[in-house]
Structures are given as C-alpha cells and as structure tokens.
C-alpha cells in the first residue's frame, strides 16, 4: 500500500470508529440524516476521492477510494459515501460538474430512463426502482437513453416522486419517478456501452469491498465474543465446535480480503472487470457462509438489536443481493470460462490481466 493510501485508511478508520456508534447507526436507520458524520467526511475531502483535482475533486486513485470504502463497510457508515463516489466518478468521466454533497447513482444498466430533446436541453423521464439513498441525497445521477444513445445527467430529487423504502439493513432504497424533468444541454453528456459496462463492474467491485469490510467486522466481533463469553466454566473458544466455526469464519474473511485486495490492485491499472466479477462471486459466498456462523456463535444476544453484530450482518444480507447476486455473476463468468475453452483455463487463472478469459 502506498504511503498516501495508508494515511487515508488510517484517518478514515479514526473518523468511522469515532462517529459510527451504535446510536448513530440505529438513528440513521429510523430515517435521521447522519449530519455530523457526513460533514466530517465531506470536509476531509473523502466524497470526491479519485476525481482529479482539475475537475474539482480531491485527487487520488480508484484504489484509494476502494480502500476507504472497505473501512466504511467495516464500520457500517450510514451515509451514501459509496453512492456519492460512484456518481462523482461518472460525472467526472463524462465531463459534468461534480459535487461534494450527497449524491447517488441510479442503476446504470437500466432500460427505463429516456431522454427527449427539447428547447435548450433535455426532458428526462422514467421510473427507476431501488435507487440507493434517493430520499436523502441532493442529486441523482441517471443513465438513460435517447434512441440508442446512452445519456447521462444529474437530476434533482426534489422534482421527482420518491417512494419510501429500505433494504434489509434499513438503508434507503427508493423507487423514483422522474417526470419529464428539464436538464439544460450543458448538464447532459453522452455515454458509451463500454462506459456503462465499466460502471456496472465498478458497482459490483464497490459492493464487494464494502462487504469485505463488513466481514472483517463480523470476524472481529465474533472472535472477541468467544473470549468474553463463558459457559460450563470456560470461555467458549475452548470448545472445539466453536473453534471450527472460528476457523471457517477466518478462512472466508481472509478470502474476501484477498479477492478484494486484488480487485483494488486491478482497478489501479484499469483492467478490473474479471477481478470485479470474481470478487462479487467469492465475497457473496463468504457472506452467506459467515453470517450464519457469527449468529450461531453469538447465541441469543447476537439476535437482538442491542448487539452491534446485526449492523454488519444485515448489511451483508442486503448487499449480497444488490447489483446482482453472486449466482447471476457466476453465470456470466462461468459462461466466459466455458466459451474460452479448456486450454484457456489455466493460462487465464495465472494471468487474468494478460490473457483475459473473455473478449468483452
């Protein structure tokens, strides 16, 4: 890790640790905006990381940003940091103005938003489901189409119909109706298939990184609990059945860490689509193995809202299904592997960047 990244991770850890208390996360879940947390994150320039300074951002790389998001995932930060970063990255790529304020990016590979040319600009319409944090942000970046052309714009949530809704972790997930909202010409940009595909993969890599962070937390909380809790006169980590649970949990967490480390590494050289798929598949599996273990080990206390384990486990349950489940991505990836044929298998595994499994 570069020195700058280490410093970033260190200061982000400090902020998240201090601010993401149990009370704050619970309050956020009841709909209260985490004002103080957002402000410090924004003031620290973390909401525009990996946007070049010339474009008004903080600078740094995508890898820096993903390292930061792993920390946000670890501490269940109840703010749309991932969403704001994704939105800003897309805005910056297509040359639209970015913002340090809370933003979100609606699902990019939708077929539901349309752009129509009007006097001096464009009318944007559509009904989009499951837009993260739409009810609490200041701008929604949407990808839509004018005929066959991808179009990108930032629209104003105040002029949309937004339904209330949330995922299993109580994070806002809203259906929005955009009613022919006017966006001036200079607020609209064109997109390409390649760009949209790249952001779809960026989306799964971001989710994987958040999940890997949450898994780290689950392992820490579970390990600590096995030392604190005694039954039959000894700490429960002395029981072999519990040791097996801990070993499996450690293995899954370590695998999630490694696979996202390489995703982060890959994004730094901007050839990350295969790594992103692998990360989404492997981290999704890790989540589905780890969460039941953690809840088993913590017994009834872990099942309560008293204990903070649930902040991480409910996020893992929610996030594993967002941007496509691990099975949907395994199908895509498996198809590429099969199409590439048996001779390509091992060379691809040993050098995915050099011999891409697919030719997408």
């Amino acid at each position: 890790m570069s020195e700058i990244r280490e410093m970033l991770v260190e200061s982000a850890t400090k902020i998240m640790k201090d601010f993401c208390t149990k009370e704050l996360i619970n309050e956020a879940e009841s709909g209260v905006w985490a004002e103080d947390l957002w402000n410090i994150v924004e003031e620290s320039g973390l909401t525009t990381i990996a946007v070049p300074e010339e474009a008004g951002g903080t600078g740094g790389s995508y890898g820096d940003a993903l390292s930061l998001l792993r920390i946000a995932g670890k501490y269940s930060a109840p703010i749309p940091l991932a969403e704001t970063l994704l939105a800003n990255w897309l805005l910056a790529e297509v040359g639209l103005p970015i913002s340090s304020k809370p933003l979100t990016l609606s699902p990019v590979d939708n077929n539901v938003v349309t752009f129509n040319e009007t006097e001096g600009g464009w009318g944007v319409s559509g009904i989009v489901k499951q837009v993260p944090w739409a009810s609490l942000v200041e701008g929604i970046v949407v990808v839509g189409k004018f005929k066959d052309q991808y179009m990108i714009a930032k629209i104003d949530p105040n002029n949309c119909l937004i339904s209330q809704g949330s995922n299993l972790a109580g994070e806002p997930r809203n259906n929005i109706e955009i009613q022919n909202q006017f966006v001036p010409s200079n607020g609209v940009a064109f997109g390409t298939d390649g760009l949209v595909s790249r952001f779809a993969h960026l989306g799964i890599l971001v989710k994987s990184v958040l999940m890997a962070g949450a898994l780290e937390r689950v392992l820490e909380l579970t390990t600590a609990y096995t030392k604190e809790r005694s039954q039959f006169g000894r700490p429960i980590h002395r029981f072999q059945a519990i040791q097996h649970h801990l070993a499996s949990l450690s293995g899954e967490t370590a695998a999630a860490k490694v696979v996202t480390d390489y995703g982060i590494e890959a994004i730094d050289i901007n050839q990350f689509e295969t790594e992103a798929m692998i990360a989404k598949i492997r981290v999704g599996e890790a989540a589905s193995i780890s969460v039941p273990i953690a809840h088993q080990v913590l017994g009834a206390i872990g099942f309560t809202d008293e204990h903070i384990l649930q902040h991480s486990t409910r996020r893992l349950w929610a996030w594993r299904d967002e941007n496509g489940t691990e099975v949907e991505w395994a199908e895509k990836f498996g198809e590429q592997v099969i199409n590439a044929g048996p001779e390509a298998l091992w060379p691809s595994v040993t050098g995915i960047n050099k011999n891409p499994i697919s030719s997408h």
Partner: protein, 385 residues
C-alpha cells in the same frame, strides 16, 4: 483485521513469465511425445524417475538452494510458478516431490555441511527421493505421542519401531524420521525428539506395502529392527526434533499442491460441457473458477511471506483447509454436472479424471494434518492475536 490474517499482494516479476513459458513448452513437448497423461493427484500418484530426472536437468528441482549444493539460487516465487505449472498439467512429479519440497529444504536449514554436500546435489538432479517419517501406528494427529526410539550406541544410534502411511517408501532412498532419543516425558511430550536421515536400504529396514482402496500402492509401513544409524545422520540437534519438524510442516502445508490436486479434472470438465452449457452449469463453473482464482492468490501470498523469511503457520493452515475442501468440492461438482460412469479404465478422459479425483479425495483433507487439527490451530491463533 488481525495482522496474522493478512496476506501480501504478490506481483510476479516480469521475468517469471519467461520461466512459466519454458515450463509450459516443456510440458507440451512431453505431452506430444506421449510421456505422460495428465492425472489428478499426480504429486502422490504420478511416479516417473525419468520425468524427475528431466526436471532436474532443467534446473527445476532444488531451485531455491545455493549453487554449491546443486541448487539454482532462484526465488521461492519462481519455484512456486514451476510447481503450479506442473501440478496444473497433472504431470508425474511424485518421485522427487517430498525431497524437493521439504527434506532438502530441511537439510539445508538444519543439516551439517557434509549432509548438504552429500544429499542436496542428488536431490536437485532428480535422482534421490525422500519420504516423510512422521506418522506411526499409534500416533497420527497426536504426533508427539510417537514411540519409535533411537538409542545411543558406539559411533551412532540403534533405531527400533515403525512408521506408517509412508508415501513412496517403496521407491525412495531416504527417510527423514522423527523419533525419540529420550523416553517420553509426560510433562513435556515435545522433549526428547530428534530427526535422522535413515537409509531405506540399510539392514533392518523393512518396507511393507499398504494398498489404497483402489489397489494402488503409494503407502507403506516402514519397520525398523535394530537399524544402525551412523552419528553423521542426525539432523540438527539432539532433542530439537519437534521444533525442526514443525518448521518442515510450514513448507508441507502451504504449496499449490493443496488446491490443485484435482485441477486436471476441471480442465476435462470444461472440455465436456463446452457445447451448450445450461445456466446451472455456467453458475457452478463460475463459482469454481472464482474459488480457484482466490485460493491461488492466497497460496501465492503465503509463498510471498515465506520468501521474506516469515513462517506463516496460521495462513498456511488456513489455505490448506480451504484448498483441500476445494479439491473435494471440485470432484463433487463435476460429478453432479455431467452424468457419467467414472472409472479409471474408461475410454473417456473425463471419466478417468473423475474416477481419480473421487478415489483419492479422502486423502486430501487428511494428509499433512487433518482438517480438524488445522481448524484447531487456526482458531487458537485467531483468538490469541
């Protein structure tokens, strides 16, 4: 996350690509000559003195050892690449595998100058094979309970007892045996153990075959009856056997052979399902390859730590646990994806590979420390950190 659970990102240096290509061309050439057919679990079952000698000639055994002992002074990452290529191809590497992986390395670390000069060049040529002398009839997981005993005599030691499950003893030259040199002290069972190089051709050594359930002969019982071992065969210090043996285990547990034993089956599976795979098949293949890819990166991370001189016992145990589960899971997935009649005599390569994978699968999670024992180690270290 606990530091002990972190692995470095290992970037293989550019020049390694060249080495990898050399290994691949060599394998392709041998395949086209019909020297071998890819085989699952080839590092246990694929014995070929001829093939080992060829690898020795190319400098692919004892790669990391000093040149003065016949080694090639290459990095452990280079060795990693050579071994993973050979395993992925299912090449017959069993003859020299243990000598290269752990016995030679152990002698280099703890052996005398005389021992290094005598054994290492022969190993590096692919002409001298070693076996692991740890398990005994009454000592499996509980290795410290072992009872084979060497008693001091004039100019050497006299060894009595037996070793069990000794892979390859019937065609190997030497064993590194962990035995008692002092009676068992129930207060500290790790005391009083020492390591010796035992010549398997010495008088008093009997190698008795024990057949696998397939009828194959890999295992043996090696019985010692008043075997005289000269003083010069002691490895390291008297009484340090336990510590030395544990260091040996880190090499034994962490390599690519802990997740690649069934890779030749995956290649055949892709061959078989290539036309018109259904959704379920694609999903299962996607998951398998995602796991494989992640495991390889983890194993590479362990190799990276070993290269830096760290002994990552926790991560080695963890990768072996995950890796050997994967080896088994691969066989099970292949079996459920393709209806077939697995048989080692089948005319279909897929059915042969599947048969090998299924029949060898019980061993994956036993050898080198059982899953249960590994998980105990992992949990204890994770709790301690």
């Amino acid at each position: 996350m606990s530091k002990a659970l972190k692995l470095p990102i290992v970037e293989l240096p550019e020049n390694i690509d060249k080495l990898r290509d050399e290994v691949r061309s060599f394998i392709a050439e041998e395949r086209s000559k019909g020297t071998f057919e890819p085989q699952c679990d080839s590092w246990l079952g694929g014995f070929s003195a001829e093939f080992s000698r060829k690898l020795g000639e190319r400098g692919w055994i004892g790669m990391t050892w000093p040149k003065k002992y016949g080694g090639h002074e290459r990095s452990s990452l280079e060795r990693f690449v050579v071994t993973e290529e050979l395993l992925a191809a299912g090449a017959p590497v069993a003859a020299h595998w243990i000598a290269d992986r752990q016995s030679g390395t152990l002698l280099l670390r703890y052996g005398t100058e005389e021992q290094r000069n005598f054994y290492l060049p022969k190993i590096a040529k692919g002409e001298s094979y070693f076996v692991i002398g740890l398990s005994e009839p009454n000592s499996g997981s509980d290795l410290a309970s072992l009872s084979s005993m060497a008693t001091k005599a004039d100019g050497g030691w006299v060894l009595n007892g037996s070793k069990l499950w000794t892979s390859g003893a019937h065609h190997s030259h030497y064993m590194i045996a962990l035995v008692r040199t002092a009676p068992l002290n129930p207060e500290n069972r790790h005391q009083g153990l020492s390591q010796f190089v035992v010549d398997l051709a010495a008088p008093g050594v009997t190698v008795r075959p024990i057949r696998l359930m397939t009828g194959e002969h890999h295992f043996n019982e090696v019985i010692f009856e008043d075997v005289f071992i000269p003083d010069g065969s002691l490895v390291g210090k008297v009484g340090d056997g336990w510590k030395q043996g544990m260091a040996e285990l880190a090499y034994e547990r962490s390599g690519p052979e802990r997740f690649l034993s069934t890779l030749p089956l995956l290649t055949e599976l892709l061959n078989t399902i290539q036309l018109d795979p259904d959704r379920h098949t694609k999903i299962e293949v996607g998951k398998l390859v995602a796991r494989l890819w992640t495991l390889r990166k983890m194993s590479l991370g362990v190799a990276g730590l070993l290269e830096k001189g760290v002994t990552p016992s926790l991560m080695a145990a963890l990768v072996k646990d995950l890796g050997t589960q994967f080896e088994k899971q691969l066989a099970e997935t292949a079996r459920l994806l393709v209806s077939s009649n697995p048989s080692v005599t089948s005319s279909s390569a897929f059915e042969r590979r599947l048969a090998e994978a299924i029949l060898h699968s019980p061993g994956f999670t036993l050898r080198g420390g059982t899953t249960e024992i590994l998980r105990g180690i992992i949990a204890k270290e994770v709790v301690a950190k």
